[in-house]
Symmetry: C2
Subunit: 326 residues, 2 copies
């Protein structure tokens, strides 16, 4: 069998069944691993890889932005647990003919976001690549014992919320790939694709509220990511598509170019907003910017079911790295 048939989630499942995490440890399957320490704080760890040609095109993305984004997508995984990031490790495979100016700009972007979130670069690896740039970042973080928000804790009656507008990043990528002229609005979408801002303080604040039950960051797209929460929690859900927050820039650009904003918001991915479920009582008291987009319902039967209210068009499922190119 080829990997393209197995798919990304089939592969993860296969690896997961072979490796059992020790007792008390959350291993493979959430945004971060959660490792309890005798200090009363849990260590959080996550790792993300970016490959030229899969995740970015060198001719398109400015190296500063790539450096920023490489750290951002990892910090976002710590945010997704409600944790505080403490440091990062960067592995870089680079072609020998790369200009050092490129590397300096990359490190500049990486340094700027590291400073903004107080996360020093503590180590990593540098090596040669025959052609493609390959980047891996591992981030460490921490949070109080047993307070990290997992995907598996969504509860019946919870409302489903996101911290910001969805689809901008996917529209930005579309604009880049189609070579659309970059006016202010288009550039805004592209910026959200190239320089995502991880929701670190928002995640920490949500973690303090015990009514917030399940949380993750939106990297593959709302459809796919919410499905992970439902699978892990054994719940169903309904989403009111009219409640999904869309930016004005996205709406305008979709009108101008004939794109479907809902498809971008639901299946586009790389929003790096937080997706969480919480009790309606807790939601009423939240001070973190957020939008209620649906609710968690009891599992009817069979696999977790996600219902989209307010649309007649079928919405695409989530993104799978091995099943379709990007």
């Amino acid at each position: 069998m080829k990997l393209s048939e197995l798919g990304e989630f089939g592969l993860i499942e296969r690896i997961q069944t072979r490796f059992r995490a020790p007792d008390g440890v959350t291993g493979i399957g959430d945004d971060c691993a959660v490792l309890p320490q005798s200090t009363g704080r849990d260590t959080l760890v996550s790792s993300d890889m970016l490959i030229e040609g899969t995740h970015f095109l060198r001719k398109d993305i400015p190296p500063y932005d790539l450096g920023w984004k490489s750290a951002a997508v990892n910090l976002s995984d710590i945010a997704a647990m409600g944790g505080k990031p403490t440091g990062t490790f960067l592995s870089l495979a680079l072609p020998a003919d790369l200009d050092t100016e490129w590397i300096d700009a990359f490190m500049h972007g990486y340094a700027d976001i590291s400073e903004r979130f107080g996360t020093p670069l503590l180590g990593g690896d540098t090596t040669a690549s025959p052609d493609r740039i390959c980047i891996n970042v591992t981030v460490l973080g921490e949070c109080p014992y047993a307070r990290a928000r997992l995907r598996s804790n969504a509860q019946k009656g919870d409302v489903i919320c996101v911290t910001g507008s969805l689809g901008d990043s996917a529209a930005g990528l579309k604009a880049i790939l189609k070579g659309v002229e970059r006016d202010v609005e288009v550039q805004r979408l592209i910026d959200r694709h190239y320089r995502p801002v991880p929701r670190v303080p928002e995640g920490e604040e949500l973690r303090l509220n015990l009514g917030v039950h399940a949380m993750m960051d939106l990297s593959d797209g709302l459809g796919s990511d919410l499905q992970h929460i439902l699978d892990a929690s054994g719940m169903d859900a309904e989403i009111d598509v009219s409640a999904i927050p869309l930016s004005l820039a996205l709406k305008h650009c979709c009108q101008r170019f004939g794109w479907d904003p809902l498809a971008l918001a639901v299946s586009g991915g790389e929003d790096y907003e937080l997706l969480f479920t919480c009790t309606p009582q807790a939601e009423a008291l939240l001070t973190v910017p957020h939008f209620v987009i649906g609710r968690v319902t009891d599992r009817a039967h069979g696999p977790a079911r996600l219902t989209w209210r307010g649309t007649s068009s079928p919405l695409a499922p989530g993104f799978d790295h091995f099943k379709k190119g990007k």
Copy 2:
């Protein structure tokens, strides 16, 4: 300027000056980062990347061995500090047309070494690569506070030791690349290249001996790696080349194929033996298998100087990923 002119160590220096580790933390520049915890134990972290075409050829290395080696080279970094590895994180970028049998064998090798050293796989990332396989492993470990052995602590009068024979791995690689027929001795060399055994228990035992001052693992080759210790410690050194341990398999194969065993032992790399310096008194009491190959001398002047005794041929400096292909 191109990266090929700057070189790997120029790049690391450039990154190092931009990112300062917080007080009390050992960041970039050793085998691992060392992060003190309030528990009285230090957390050790290291990350290593393996790229198809740079570090391995898919048609040559059996996937089981690649899985084994990916974990081994990282566990070796924890061993190099005298630490105990506690868990790993694996990022895998794979082409979509890869057979799942390949992946299963890879994970089998990874699982076997993980079990042998008690290091569960706790997380990571899976993603698509347009062509080349790209692997990154991050390993976590621990050791008692301030007991990790850094590169920077070699002291005048120390003897210089290695835990095993050098050059086998480089000869194994040479045999693979030249397509030499694989009899028992050749296969032994190839096995040392494909399935290195990280010196984890040896490193922990050496850490218990306070006379052991500086330590690292041999990945780039004795010449290059010892130079790192000398640079970091501000010392010079003399190596007696006749004392460098060479395996019988290496000697035989070098005779048969006309290879230079000393060049392989000094500049070959990927031995994953431990290189350490310690007082002669401490050395006399060591129970870990080891060979004394030289001694640390006072810095005369200028940059650290490494003298090779017992050879008239100039020995190549260490390996630089960006300056020459492999």
